[in-house]
C-alpha cells in the first residue's frame, strides 16, 4: 500500500509539473530569444489571474479563462515594444534590473487597481470533484488543466518546428546576426514570441486563480519555481523545460510523501544537484551570445 501511495504522489507530481510548465515555457522562450531574464514574468501570471476574475463577472468562468490571456498578451506587445526591446543587446544585468523593477511596479499597480485584499474567485461547481482511477485520486479540474497544457505544448512544438515562423525564431536564437544578413527583421518575431510567452503565463494565472489565493504578490511566488524549472531544464531547450517541470513536480511530491516539511526545499536541492553535474542544465545547449 505504501508503494501505491508513493506512486500516487508521483502521478500527482506529473500533473503539477504540467502547470509549472505553463509558466516556465514563456520564461524560457523569452530568455532564449531575447537573452533577457524576464523577472516580470510572474507579474503577467498575476495579471492573467486578475484579468480572469474581472472578465468572469461579465462572461462566466470558461470564456474568462480563454479571453484573459489574450488581454495580457496585448500588454506583452507594449512590454516588448517599449521596454524589453532596448535590452536585447545590452549587458544581461540591465534586463534583469529593469524587469525586476517592472515586477514591483506591476504588483503595486495591481494593488492600486484591485486593492490589496485577495479577490474572490470560485471554481464553478461543475469543475469540482475528483476522479478515482484504480487507486489514484485526481482532481477533475487539474486533469482538464493538464489537457490544456498538452494542447498548448503540441501547438508550440508545431509552431517552432514546423512553421516558417519557428524557423526564423530558432535561427534568431542561434545566429541573430546571420538572420539580419539574410534580410529578415527579427523584431516582429521577438514581439510575437514575447506575446506568446506572456500569454502562456497569463493562462497559467487564469487557470490557477480558482484554486489559489488571488493576491497582488502571487506573481513573485510562482516566478521562483518557474525560474528553477528553466534553470534545471537548460536554456533554449523546449524538451529540457518539459523534463525539468515534470521532475520538479515529482521530486516535490515524493519529498512531501516522506518528509512534508522539506517539500518546498526539495526543488532547490534538486537545482543545486543538477547544476553541480550539468552547469548548463539538463538539456541546455550552448548559445553563442551567452558563451563569452
Amino acid at each position: 500500500m505504501q508503494f501505491v501511495f508513493l506512486l500516487e504522489q508521483v502521478v500527482n507530481g506529473l500533473v503539477l509539473g504540467g502547470y509549472y510548465l505553463l509558466i516556465a515555457l514563456g520564461l524560457s522562450l523569452i530568455f532564449s530569444v531575447g537573452g533577457v531574464v524576464n523577472l516580470a514574468h510572474g507579474a503577467f501570471y498575476a495579471l492573467g489571474a486578475y484579468a480572469a476574475v474581472t472578465v468572469s463577472k461579465y462572461t462566466g468562468f470558461v470564456p474568462a479563462v480563454v479571453i484573459s490571456p489574450f488581454i495580457v498578451a496585448c500588454l506583452g506587445i507594449l512590454f516588448e515594444r517599449f521596454i524589453l526591446r532596448r535590452f536585447y543587446r545590452e549587458d544581461p544585468i540591465l534586463g534583469l534590473l529593469v524587469t525586476f523593477g517592472l515586477a514591483m511596479v506591476a504588483e503595486q499597480a495591481i494593488r492600486m487597481a484591485w486593492g490589496s485584499a485577495p479577490l474572490i474567485f470560485n471554481l464553478p461547481q461543475s469543475f469540482r470533484g475528483s476522479i478515482i482511477l484504480g487507486d489514484f485520486l485526481f482532481s477533475r479540474f487539474r486533469l482538464m488543466l493538464l489537457a490544456v497544457v498538452a494542447v498548448m505544448l503540441c501547438g508550440l512544438w508545431l509552431l517552432l518546428n514546423k512553421s516558417a515562423f519557428g524557423r526564423v525564431v530558432r535561427a534568431g536564437v542561434q545566429q541573430p546576426d546571420m538572420v539580419a544578413v539574410l534580410g529578415i527583421r527579427l523584431q516582429p518575431y521577438m514581439t510575437a514570441v514575447v506575446m506568446l510567452g506572456v500569454g502562456l503565463a497569463a493562462l497559467g494565472g487564469a487557470l490557477f486563480a480558482p484554486i489559489t489565493v488571488v493576491h497582488p504578490a502571487m506573481g513573485s511566488d510562482i516566478l521562483i519555481v518557474a525560474f528553477v524549472v528553466v534553470v534545471i531544464g537548460g536554456l533554449g531547450s523546449l524538451p529540457g523545460v518539459i523534463l525539468a517541470a515534470m521532475l520538479v513536480g515529482i521530486v516535490r511530491g515524493v519529498t512531501i510523501h516522506f518528509s512534508p516539511a522539506a517539500g518546498e526545499a526539495s526543488i532547490y536541492i534538486l537545482m543545486f544537484l543538477v547544476l553541480l553535474v550539468r552547469p548548463r542544465g539538463l538539456l541546455g545547449e550552448p548559445i553563442e551570445k551567452f558563451e563569452k
Binding site: 500516487e8 500527482n12 490589496s116 485520486l137 480558482p210 489559489t212 489565493v213 493576491h215 512531501i256 517539500g263
Partner: protein, 423 residues
Amino acid sequence: MKNHGTRLADLTGLMNRRSALKLGAGVAASAAIGFPYVARAQSDVIRIGHLTPMTGFLGVLGKYAVQGIQMAAEEINAAGGVNGRKIEVKSEDSINPENATTKAQRMLERDGVDFLMGEISSASALAISQVATRNKRLFMALGPRSDVLRSASCSKYMFCTDIPNTVMVNAVGSALKRDGMVEGKKFFTLTADYVFGHDLLTAAKAFFAKNNATLLGDELIATDVTDFSPFLLKVRQAKPDVVCLNLAGNQVTNFVKQYAEFDLPYPTVGFNLNTADAWAAGVGNLSGTWPTVWYDTLDTPASKAFVKAFTAKYNRIPENHAWIEYIALKIMAQAMTETKSAETPALIKYLESGAEFDILKARKAYFRSWDHQLIQEAYPFSVKPASQAKDVHDMIVLGQVVPSPSESMEVIFPTKEQNACKL
C-alpha cells in the same frame, strides 16, 4: 540687466553666508545638547513604532492592521491627542523576524519612538520582544497567538492583546464537543511550520488527548506552500473522520479552495482563522467550525459604530486585525492619559494594575499581571451553506460568546499551572 545681475550675485552671496552660519550654529547646538532630535520629539508628539507584515503570507492581514491603528490615531488626535500631545504611529513592513529585529532596533535607538506596537507573526513578535526587553521599552504584541509568547518566552516588557492558541482551541472545542465531533473521532492535522503552528498543534494535541480523540497524522506545511495537492492525497490515504487545520494566512485560503476543488468527503474544523482569509476563500469553499476573537456582526453598539466608521473611511468591512489594532491604540491612549506619561515603567505599572478597557465587546477586558495577556471574550463561528449566504460577509455566523456571561472570562485562558511565564 547688468544691475539686476549684480543684485542677484549679492543675494546669492548672502544666502551662502547665511547657510554657512546656520550650519555652524546647528553643529554647535548638536554638540552641546547631544541628541537634539529626540529631546525635541518627546516634548510635542508621542512617537509609536508600529511593525506589521505588509507583504508575504500575512500581508493581507497586515494591511487591515495598519488601517485599524491609523484610524485610532486619527480619532485620538482629532480629540486633542493624549495629555495635549499628538500621537504619531509610524507603520513599517516587518517582513520577517530578522527584518523585524533590525527595524525595531532602529526605531528605538535612532527614530526615538516611545514604545513599540504591532505584529501578527508570532516569530517576528518574539524577535521584537527581545529587542524591546534589551532596551527596557514596552512592546504591545497585537496579533500573534502563540502560547509561548505568554509562557516560556514572556517578558516584563511585552503585553499580548490577541487570544492565544489555547483559547482558540477552547473556543472552537466547546462547539465541536456539542456537535459530537471530538469524542472517539480520528483526526488528521495540517499545521503551519513555524512557531505559531507548532504551538497551536501542541494545544490541539492536548485537547484531543483530553477528549478521547485520536490523531492519525500531522503534517507540517511550509508557510510559502501554494499547492496542497500532495497533502490532500495524504489526507485521503489516512481516511480520517475530521481534518483539522492549524494553518495561517494565505495557507488557509489556498487549502480551503483546493479542498473544495478535490471535493474530499471529510469534514474540516480549524483552530485558527482570520476572517480575511475566510472571505478570500469565497462562498461555498469554506465549511466547518472555527474560532474568532471578533467579527463585524458582533452585536454591541460600540462595535457596530466602529464597523460603520471603518467602512466609511476605507470602503471595506474591517477584519479582526483592523479591530484589534484599533482597540489596542485606544488602550494605550487610556494608559497614557491616566498615567500622564509615555514612559515604559509607568505604562507597565498601569497595564498590570488590572485596569479595565472598553474593547467594543459586551464585557470589558483587562491584562493579567502575571502573563500580560489581555483577558477577553471569544467566539466560535460556523459557515452557512452556499445556497443561504448572500455574499462572503454573510456566510459567517457568529456563535454564542465563550465563556458564557455567567462564567469568569479566565476559564478559557491557560491557568497559572499550564503557563510557565515567570515575570
